[in-house]
């Protein structure tokens, strides 16, 4: 399994360094080395979105993203959103609309919604379906998730 190497990156706003193996995935690194459990490995194939994190502001499936690739990048996990103790408006909207049941998929949906609203502040139904089509929720909370996205969008626009 060849040689480890040391990488430097920004994790949730702080400069960090880690020694990683070439085969090591980002989700593994976050969990094993940094005790960040918000990103979870479920399908391990880039198909469910449970492992979603933001790399330089873009959502990626961290189960397929090699840890070595974040060298020099900025990584944001769900834990960062409420780091100051206050929930992000997206998180609040998920609570208010009841947009989850077991909650296993929730961090992934929250982060994907963050990216959606960053790029499209007033998303249409189709935009929502497009952005969230890579996230799966086996509990079937989709109707409430759509409602959450719309609520968060309204709040953020101040409408």
């Amino acid at each position: 399994m060849t040689a480890p190497r040391t990488i430097h990156f920004t994790l949730n706003g702080a400069a960090v360094a880690a020694t990683v193996m070439p085969h090591q995935s980002l989700v593994e690194l976050l969990r094993e080395r940094f005790d960040l459990f918000g990103a979870r490995e479920s399908c391990g194939q880039g198909l469910c979105g449970c492992c979603t994190v933001l790399v330089d502001g873009r959502a990626v499936s961290s189960c397929l993203y090699l840890a070595a690739f974040v060298d020099g990048a900025g990584v944001t996990t769900v834990e960062h959103l409420a780091a100051d103790g206050d929930l992000d408006p997206v998180q609040e909207a998920f609570i208010e609309t009841g947009a989850f049941q077991c909650g296993f998929c929730t961090p992934g949906f929250v982060l994907m919604t963050k990216q959606l609203l960053d790029e499209i502040p007033d998303p249409s139904d189709d935009d929502i379906r497009h952005y969230l089509s890579g996230n799966l929720c086996r509990c079937g909370a989709y109707p409430e998730i759509v409602a959450a996205v719309k609520l968060a969008a309204r709040r953020q626009r101040g409408a």
Partner: protein, 764 residues
């Protein structure tokens, strides 16, 4: 926490967000998935590559030589720590690791232990197993009379007295046969004006919880602690204690929140293996399955249902015959219970005087099947509600009117002879028809896009008799802790139980802390399954909280608090103990009445403590050029008694309906010669946001379960019951073809359209 504010009531019917909502949106919620223990080893499983075969040789030398491998474990090693390593809730038929032979592809044969999961995985793949193939059988009907026998001898577990007669039987794949006879079906068929006979099938599907199965075992100091994503901590404790020959108090089972369960995580799954591995390695061991491995672990029964009805000249169903065959796969799991309990309701929610039901659980060489959100009932409703619609159409009767005419009403005996009570079947049908505006004209589409609508209604007998126990502790500052073993896998039980306890105590639900299941701490509970918890545990929690409330009243009297005086609880404790000290413990235990079915007739005066009723209506659009089915609108109406938390009930109903939508339209475990072709989310598709109907609605009818806690009853499965037949009925309404096998893919519809046009496509 200071004294909880005392309020008279108001906790029931409150849609407060889940108590753990913040932890779930911040990613902080605890799942066993996240757990690591100091000194822990990872286990990776080497699985069978043949569906049925004798194990000739296991060569682990190459695997053992990989640096970092701690140990390779086979069945022989397991026997050194567990003398009789077979488990299962209904039959002790499942080996912890395959012994002598394998019975399905993906069966665990050996395990590699290593500190690095990647090394364990690499080594597991390096194990070479040689098999001598045996004849295998995969279809439930063929398995009824097959030369291929999955188990040489049947080994019922003894947990269920009605399986005893199967002990020691050989030469059969029938793991349970349940028979019910009421009235005189033969005579009724002879006298019938019309006779209808159909056959329906369902496919094997998988629960697909997004948190895959995971268990850790830590055996030390003559005891073992098991951390497991399980829906049944008490059962796991009892079963592991039995396997080890230890008292229950040396086995501790802990869970956290589950990332979905749906019946996948009931009874023993990985726990026995994890315990054996930890005993062998003398270190904690973690077994965490991949998504792929879940497909080989547990699934939902494929089934065949032959149904035949007699109808008189007034449109009354006078007799119904049901033959149901459940494909249980290689190990019984809870399948025999599925076959029997669902058998109770196989004739549907109709008042039919003459019924005959034969329900079979059958071993085959497929991965095992167990309980999946409905305990066999969605398979039944699929058949009897498709059948009922076919009859109504053939007789030229409106499907709603025909159902109404035959509906089972409170006060009438159901197939088992049990008199119906608190089952709002009529109300569900009425609300469904009203929501769909059934008596109004309907837009039938145009051109190649044809529209149709359909509905269906199903019901289920809750699992019985089962026990739940709860305790409530009031601390000296008046704050309250609830100890209950119900596992929250997303259904919101933590919140609902807090609401029930709070209601009984006259405080706010937010003031109750609910302890996560831990068999060293939380009392016995039969399990979080079959929509039983809100009713059974809810009753136990209410009793426990009332007991605590009575003891508080006694404390008030003892400390001289005049009735009506609003003295804080903390002050009462202080008066009694002279300082902030003491605990009041309230206990509650609940087991409903039940009468087992007569072994000859299958009849019982008391089949269940409560009935669940679920109806669904669908509006669909079919592209006649491709067969594609678009569900435009999906309506679910349920009898959930009096909802404790209406918001959560609604998400349970729509969530269940969405899951069933996947089982209806596309999900299917596909096999070639017993080899599963699609064990991954890449090829086994579950519903995504794009599969949502344009409109999805849920409603609960006004009703109350008199024996339930504050009128409530279970609802976790109800939303699944009627979705599939509602869609098939809508498809026939739209394009005039009948699909009798799930899933209803575009290909199936297109083939049916071509067949109907007399232009049949060749089979592939």
């Amino acid at each position: 926490m200071s004294d909880a504010t005392r309020v008279s009531s108001g906790q029931i019917g409150r849609s407060l967000p889940r108590v753990e909502a913040r932890a779930k949106v911040t990613g902080a919620a605890e799942y066993i998935h996240n757990l690591r223990l100091p000194g822990m080893l990872y286990g990776k499983i080497c699985r069978s590559t043949v569906p049925h075969g004798r194990i000739l040789r296991i060569d682990a030398s190459a695997a053992a030589a990989i640096p970092g491998v701690h140990r390779i474990v086979t069945a022989e090693d397991i026997r050194t720590v567990i003398a009789e390593p077979y488990y299962g809730p209904a039959f002790h038929d499942q080996p912890i690791l395959a012994e002598g032979k394998v019975r399905h592809v993906g069966e665990p044969v050996a395990v590699v232990l290593a500190t690095d999961p990647h090394i364990a995985e690499e080594a597991a793949q390096a194990i070479v197993v040689e098999y001598a193939p045996l004849p295998a059988v995969f279809d439930e009907i063929e398995a009824m009379n097959s030369a291929a026998i999955v188990h040489d001898i049947l080994k019922p577990a003894g947990t269920f007295p009605d399986l005893k007669h199967l002990a020691g039987r050989s030469g059969t794949n029938v793991a349970l046969d349940f028979h019910l006879r009421r009235g005189d079906t033969e005579r009724a068929f002879a006298a019938a004006e019309h006779i209808f006979e159909h056959s329906f099938r369902t496919q094997q599907v998988m629960h697909t919880p997004l948190e895959p199965h995971v268990s850790l075992a830590d055996a030390a100091d003559g005891g073992v602690t098991i951390h497991s994503a399980t829906q049944t901590p008490s059962f796991v404790r009892i079963e592991i204690a039995r396997l080890l020959g230890w008292p229950e108090n040396r086995v501790r089972v802990k869970t956290a929140f589950l990332g979905g369960g749906f019946g996948a995580k009931v009874y023993v799954k990985l726990e026995a293996l994890a315990v054996a591995l930890s005993l062998l390695a003398r270190r904690p061991v973690k077994l965490a399955l991949t998504m792929e491995e879940q497909f080989f672990t547990i699934s939902k029964h494929a089934s065949t249902f032959r149904i035949k009805s007699a109808v008189d000249g007034h449109g009354h169903i006078t007799a119904r015959q049901c033959q149901v065959f459940y494909n249980g796969g290689a190990y019984a799991d809870i399948g025999p219970r599925v076959a029997q309990k669902s058998g109770f309701t196989a004739t549907g929610p109709y008042d039919i005087p003459n019924v005959a039901i034969d329900s079979y659980e059958i071993y085959t060489n497929r991965p095992p099947a167990g309980a999946l959100r409905g305990f066999g009932v969605p398979q039944l409703v699929w058949a009897y509600e498709s059948h009922t619609d076919l009859i109504a159409r053939a007789l030229g009767r409106d499907p709603v009117e025909f159902r109404r005419r035959n509906l089972l009403r409170d006060g009438a005996p159901q197939a088992t002879g049990t008199v119906m009570r608190d089952a709002a079947i009529s109300a569900v049908l009425d609300r469904l028809a009203a929501r769909l505006a059934w008596d109004q004209p309907f837009d039938r589409g145009a051109g190649t896009l044809k529209r149709g609508r359909g509905l269906a209604i199903g019901f289920k007998a809750s699992i019985s008799p089962t026990t739940s126990v709860a305790t409530v502790a009031i601390a000296a500052d008046g704050s309250c802790i609830l100890y209950c073993g119900t596992v929250d896998m997303g259904q919101g039980s933590t919140t609902a139980m807090a609401q029930i306890a709070a209601e009984a105590l006259g405080i706010e639900a937010e003031a109750v802390r609910v302890v996560a299941p831990d068999t060293d701490v939380t009392p016995y509970d039969m399990g979080t399954l079959g929509s039983r918890s809100l009713f059974h545990m809810g009753n136990a929690v209410r009793l426990a909280a009332q007991d605590a409330r009575d003891k508080l009243a006694a404390l008030a009297a003892e400390t001289g608090v005049p009735p009506g005086a609003n003295l804080p609880i903390s002050e009462q404790f202080r008066r009694k103990y002279g300082m902030q000290a003491g605990t009041i413990v309230g206990a509650g235990s609940y087991i409903p009445a039940y009468a087992p079915p007569d072994s000859a007739t299958g009849l019982t005066p008391n089949a269940t403590p409560f009935w669940m009723v679920g109806g669904a209506g669908a509006e669909v659009e079919i592209d006649t050029e491709t067969g594609r089915v678009r569900v435009l609108r999906l309506v679910n109406v349920a009898d959930a008694g009096t909802p404790i938390n209406p918001g959560i009930v609604e998400t349970q109903l729509t969530g269940a309906a969405i899951m069933q939508l996947g089982f209806t339209l596309f999900e299917e475990m596909q096999f070639t010669d017993g080899q599963l072709r699609n064990p991954s989310l890449a090829e086994y598709k579950i519903p995504g946001i794009r599969d949502m109907p344009d409109r999805i609605e849920a409603e609960t009818v006004d009703s109350a379960q008199q024996s339930g806690p504050y009128g409530a009853k279970g609802v976790g499965e109800t939303g699944t019951f009627a979705v599939s037949p509602a869609i098939a009925n809508a498809i026939e309404d739209a394009v005039g073809v009948r699909i009798s096998e799930l899933p209803i893919t575009a290909e199936a519809v297109y083939r049916a359209l071509r067949r109907a046009a007399g232009d049949q496509l060749e089979d592939l």
